[in-house]
Amino acid sequence: MYQYDEFDRAFIAERNRQFRAQVDHRIDGSLTEEEFRPLRLMNGLYLQLHAYMLRVAIPYGTLNSAQLRQLAMIATRWDKGYGHFTTRQNIQYNWPRLTDVPDILDALAEVGLHAIQTSGNTIRNVTSDQFAAAAADEIDDPRPYAELIRQWSTDHPEFQFLPRKFKIAITGSPNDRAVTKAHDIGLRMVRHGNDTGFEVIVGGGLGRTPMIGKVIRDFLPVADLLPYLEAIVGTYNLLGRRDNKYKARIKITVHENGLEKVRDLVEAQFHKIAPQFDAAATAQHLAQLKQQFAAPDLPPRDDQRYHDARRIDGVFRAWADTNLHPHRVAGYSIVTISLKPHGGTPGDATDAQMTLIADLADRYAQGEIRVSHEQNLVLPHVALDDLPDLHAALRKAGLATANVGLASDIIACPGMDYCALATARSIPVAQEIAQHVDALKLEHDIGPLKIKISGCINACGHHHVGHIGILGLDRAGVENYQITLGGDGSEDAVIGTRTGPGFAYDQIVPAVERILRAYLDLRRDRSETFLQAYRRLGADPFKAALYHTEQEDAA
């Protein structure tokens, strides 16, 4: 894993020193809120509905155990004993006091973490595949490239005041677990012959105007990565609109100007600036980064205990069936720890849970933890024979919910329970859907299903790419929930289609149940997933189920 070098440490220390002084100046009155606000946002500090919120970046979703322990310590010491993992692989603290934030930032720096550029119109935390360097289907570990991008984009002098925020996601696998097509820039590693490079996707994004990204370059050699990114962001910086916040993202720039024009400008800029980049030095630096991210040495292990446990322990078997993913090394597995207990808050972990997971990572998983954009934690390298012990330890801490990829593994933004921008609540809707499908014992029968909930049009909950998406709105002073169907955040990304009129808060869970029951009636057999059935049948039979009952109720 990447360890901060002297440059990183000095830079973060200086930024933290500056922010401490800025907080002091705000409190003594020498900075107004108008002056202070952009400064605090540059350091990840928001003011939300009930309190400040500090958003800490977890670069490309990778943590070591010491970092996770420190995140737990911060939750204990300066917050209310928990943290919230987000769809951008960040962790948010919902209750810090302004005067404690400089100390929190110093505590983060001790373990090589920061909150810089987690807000504002800058290049945000680079997100990636949570199974990086472990998944069997991977071409190459995306994280050295992501770290290179982090170093290039952090405090980049040209890109501190972009027209709008800018999000980059990178995956090294053809099976896209990083939603690259819904980012301002998506990078998908591809092979051309013996050469490895990137398919570069631009102009994706959700929010008010959801768009699937378009391929601007089908093969970008690794050596050209930074100049090409700089050409895209530089082109956007000049061409992107600043007159209207809602038309300022690069997706609108691409949409309004056309991909061809943007591509021509980017290519011209690329050829102009590429000579200014020292390709040899970057290659050397990248080689050093790759050494730091070198996959751990995983000794051969037996798998007898694992198979015995599967045979005799049904609870373990159910968990293993849903929460494990194939590892590239025989005898090992990737474990997803669900932060979605039925009725819990999606993505929340207590300080005790974080500390336990850090300890378990040291014991069973080479000290590594990942954060997924689906708001779960991952232990990327666990020997199959250690799984029964790991499962037992997780179970004691309420961390062994067997639901990864199922109906209750819901993405939900904080919504109006915390967020100042929200128009409706998300968390209780997620809680109630999860409890409902659990009470009905439906979700294992339903199989793979992604439900995603956003509490406003900004779509932090990725509802557009949920198989079932839910968007909470304020309709005449009452919470109202719109449903979209058929969205997909994978390599075949699709924006979901709105079904029709929305549902009141107390009607949304029954509405979702009608969709689920319609699927169970309509599917060919258990092997046809919800998304496959939807694609075969279209929206009509689902809409009929959704609204027909409504009419009967109203009659």
Binding site: H50, L98, D417
Partner: protein
């Protein structure tokens, strides 16, 4: 039954804690909506807001929130203000934990 009167209150978040506060009758900031000063007159409310906006070393983001003044006191006109008064629905944190 008497009709609840539409009124406005001045509200903000406190500078240090970040928690929700309302402008009280005595000009202090209160953490209980119950004690907030209810303005029936729009001009009075606007004037109070402008004064409150000057108190930058105490609060952040002052605005006027719509309330209804009935027999039981002030009630938020909108659910957002109801959440601000109470705290989040997933944990007993925020105002609701303060008793």
């Amino acid at each position: 039954m008497t009709q609840a009167t539409p009124v406005k209150v001045v509200t903000a978040n406190s500078l240090i804690e970040g928690d929700v506060v309302w402008l009280a009758k005595d000009g202090s900031w209160t953490d209980s909506l119950h004690n907030a000063n209810a303005f029936t007159d729009k001009t009075d409310a606007q004037a109070a807001l402008e004064q409150a906006n000057l108190r930058q070393n105490e609060v952040v983001g002052c605005y006027l929130a719509d309330m209804r003044l009935g027999a039981t006191g002030l009630e938020p006109a909108h659910f957002r203000e109801d959440f601000r008064r109470r705290g989040p629905s997933n944990y007993a944190h925020g105002k609701q934990s303060q008793g």
